[in-house]
């Protein structure tokens, strides 16, 4: 009776699958498997970091490579986050080399490293594409500074430090187009807007501008700029720092239409760490200290305000 036997076989496999799923839900989850993976084999054999202040002493910090602080960011690293002279043609880095410490994020990274007790020479920069920063599992960096905005949902997947820079969204357009004359947020709603996938800029368009035309979403801000040039969209929404870069470097006839008002929580850039990383409280401590002694504000004045000028806020 092949037919009934086949039915039997299918039924049995279903039972098997259901049993497997049931088994899966009752499988005890190992306690934070990801954090265990961050300790490199050659890490010093110190006791696990506890809640005592001593845990953030340099000798107790369990970094990827012992004695070094590995910091990630995407390549090209660009201003005003990373600045300085153009790197040599042979360099890994395209527009700016983080190793020279110029630019808001490079300066912040070295300031954090300093507070953690790492000398400049102990800081190692690695290229981490923006998309890889958020992937679950072990990371190739101790912390990553890549203009990642803090969000509660993101904080479930990776550790996000306290904010080191308060950011606003901004709109970039072409001088010749009607968008250049817009002064209100509601004035943007009838226009075609575009941005990069996965950015808070997209969330801002969808939640706050709510344009009548579905926003165009691109794989990169570069593609959004290409679409702007092709007149497929009227404006690109990006954070202010990126907007400066678009206006100054990517477009010859670009204009920042304005800053977008903050809605709800202040947007801020956070350093990304592995989920449950013992380093996170120490990085937060360092950022708090940098805020208290005014170092962060100095960095902002130097790398944003004095170099990029002011932009009006849209009503």
């Amino acid at each position: 009776m092949p037919r009934s036997q086949r039915t039997l076989a299918v039924a049995l496999m279903l039972v098997l699958a259901v049993a497997a799923c049931a088994g899966a839900t009752t499988t005890p989850s190992p306690s934070v498997p990801a954090s265990a993976a961050t300790s490199a084999p050659n890490a010093p054999t110190t006791p696990p970091a506890s809640a005592t202040p001593d845990a953030c002493a340099r000798a107790n910090l369990k970094t990827l490579t012992a004695g070094r602080l590995t910091i990630g960011t995407d390549n090209p690293a660009f201003g005003p986050w990373f600045a300085g002279p153009a790197p040599a043609k042979t360099s890994t880095w395209q527009y700016a080399d983080p190793n020279n410490g110029a630019g808001l994020e490079a300066a912040t990274a070295y300031a954090i490293a300093d507070k953690l007790g790492f000398a400049r020479a102990d800081v190692v920069w690695v290229v981490v594409p923006f998309n890889n920063v958020i992937q679950p599992g072990p990371k190739s960096f101790d912390l990553d500074l890549n203009e990642v905005s803090w969000s509660a949902k993101r904080a479930e997947q990776v550790d996000l430090s306290d904010g080191y820079f308060d950011d606003n969204q901004a709109v970039v357009g072409l001088k010749a187009n009607g968008i250049a004359k817009v002064t209100t947020v509601s004035g943007l709603a009838s226009l075609r807007l575009g941005t990069q996938v996965g950015t808070t800029s997209y969330a801002y368009i969808a939640d706050n501008i709510r344009p009548s035309t579905k926003p165009s979403v691109y794989g990169s801000m570069d593609a959004a700029i290409a679409a702007l040039k092709a007149k497929q969209i009227d404006g690109v929404v990006a954070d202010l720092g990126t907007a400066f870069f678009m206006r100054d470097v990517q477009l010859s006839d670009g204009v920042i239409v304005g800053r977008l008002p903050t809605v709800g929580e202040q947007e801020r850039f956070a350093a990304v760490l592995n989920l449950g990383s013992p380093l996170t409280p120490c990085v937060n401590q360092a950022i708090a200290a940098l805020k208290a002694d005014g170092a962060l504000e100095q960095i902002r004045q130097k790398w944003i305000v004095s170099t990029e000028g002011d932009v009006p806020e849209l009503k």
């Binding site: 092949p2 036997q5 086949r6 039997l8 076989a9 049995l12 496999m13 098997l16 699958a17 497997a20 088994g23 899966a24 499988t27 989850s29 190992p30 498997p33 990801a34 958020i134 679950p136 599992g137 949902k153 993101r154 479930e156 997947q157 990776v158 575009g194 996938v197 996965g198 950015t199 997209y202 969330a203 579905k214 165009s216 979403v217 691109y218 794989g219 593609a223 959004a224 290409a226 679409a227 040039k229 092709a230 007149k231 497929q232 969209i233």
Partner: protein, 289 residues
């Protein structure tokens, strides 16, 4: 086939066994063996996966019901764009590729430039990565600023897919045309049919029937490659999944996308299998096995 047991031992689960034909002796046992081995193999696979140290992490990141429910309606809406893209493209591709294949098969020295163009076209669009074609046409053509040239990204997405896939599909047609024995055309010509008539009524019907499975291959490839059009900002399902993934840092939305693509392609594959089997049976006059 009615007598001895099949030594292969899998007859119990064999797919194409005609109704009413079964093994008298081996059927029962081989079914049990097939069943047993399936249970063991799949059981082992599941055990390995479920007991791997990262399984809870995988479950949380890739198999999360909350995120699935959240993303599903938006994806269902977005896949409509993909369906539009591949249906519009395929409607143009099928005849355009056939035309290119026929042009390439034209005999005689006078048609050399035509054949050369057809060869250059297929070489170029098969050889260049599809994403590049989409980028260049999608962002480049509107930059020309020529009156009458559309700037719409969706339009250029369809055009790119047509150009890329017509190159592939024309080669499939050409293989079909060349598989028809020359004696077929010779016979048709001897009956007084012109070259065009022979092509139309004798060669092409046989050629096209033979290449239906590879044509379906390319159609499925086209369906999946509609995701590439997201590069120029068209709101299709893969981009929607990405938007949802980035909003939550959870990868479950991609699973929903995979399921949607399977829902599109698997029934189509089964339908084509069935059509092919039926046409073969008809050709062989009911003696098909």
């Amino acid at each position: 086939m009615t007598g001895p047991a099949d030594p292969g031992g899998v007859t119990g689960l064999r797919r194409f066994r005609p109704a009413g034909v079964r093994d008298r002796n081996g059927g029962h046992r081989s079914t049990l063996i097939a069943l047993g081995s399936t249970v063991v193999v799949f059981g082992l696979l599941l055990a390995v996966v479920l007991n791997s140290p990262g399984w809870p992490l995988i479950q949380k990141s890739f198999l999360n019901a909350t995120y699935l429910a959240d993303s599903w309606p938006r994806q269902l809406e977005a896949i409509g764009t993909n369906v539009q893209l591949f249906l519009m493209a395929e409607v143009i591709i099928l005849p355009a590729a056939l035309l290119i294949a026929v042009l390439r098969s034209l005999p005689g020295p006078a048609f050399f430039p035509v054949r050369l163009l057809a060869v250059l076209y297929t070489d170029f669009f098969r050889g260049v990565p599809g994403v590049l074609v989409i980028f260049v046409l999608g962002f480049g053509m509107p930059l020309l600023g020529l009156p009458g040239v559309p700037i719409d990204a969706f339009f250029w997405g369809v055009v790119s897919l047509v150009l890329i896939y017509s190159a592939y599909v024309s080669e499939v047609y050409r293989a079909g045309i060349e598989s028809v024995h020359p004696s077929q055309e010779a016979a048709a010509r001897s009956l007084g049919l012109s070259r065009a008539q022979a092509l139309r009524h004798v060669v092409l019907p046989q050629a096209v029937r033979r290449v239906i499975p590879p044509l379906l291959n390319d159609f499925i490839g086209l369906q999946k490659d509609t995701a590439l059009v997201s590069f120029i900002g068209v709101a299709e399902v893969f981009r929607q999944a990405q938007i949802d993934e980035f909003a939550s840092f959870n990868f479950t939305p991609y699973l929903a996308t995979a399921a949607l693509f399977l829902l599109l392609t698997v029934p189509l594959a089964r339908l084509t299998d069935w059509l092919t089997a039926r046409s073969r049976q008809r050709q062989l006059g009911g003696f098909a096995r």
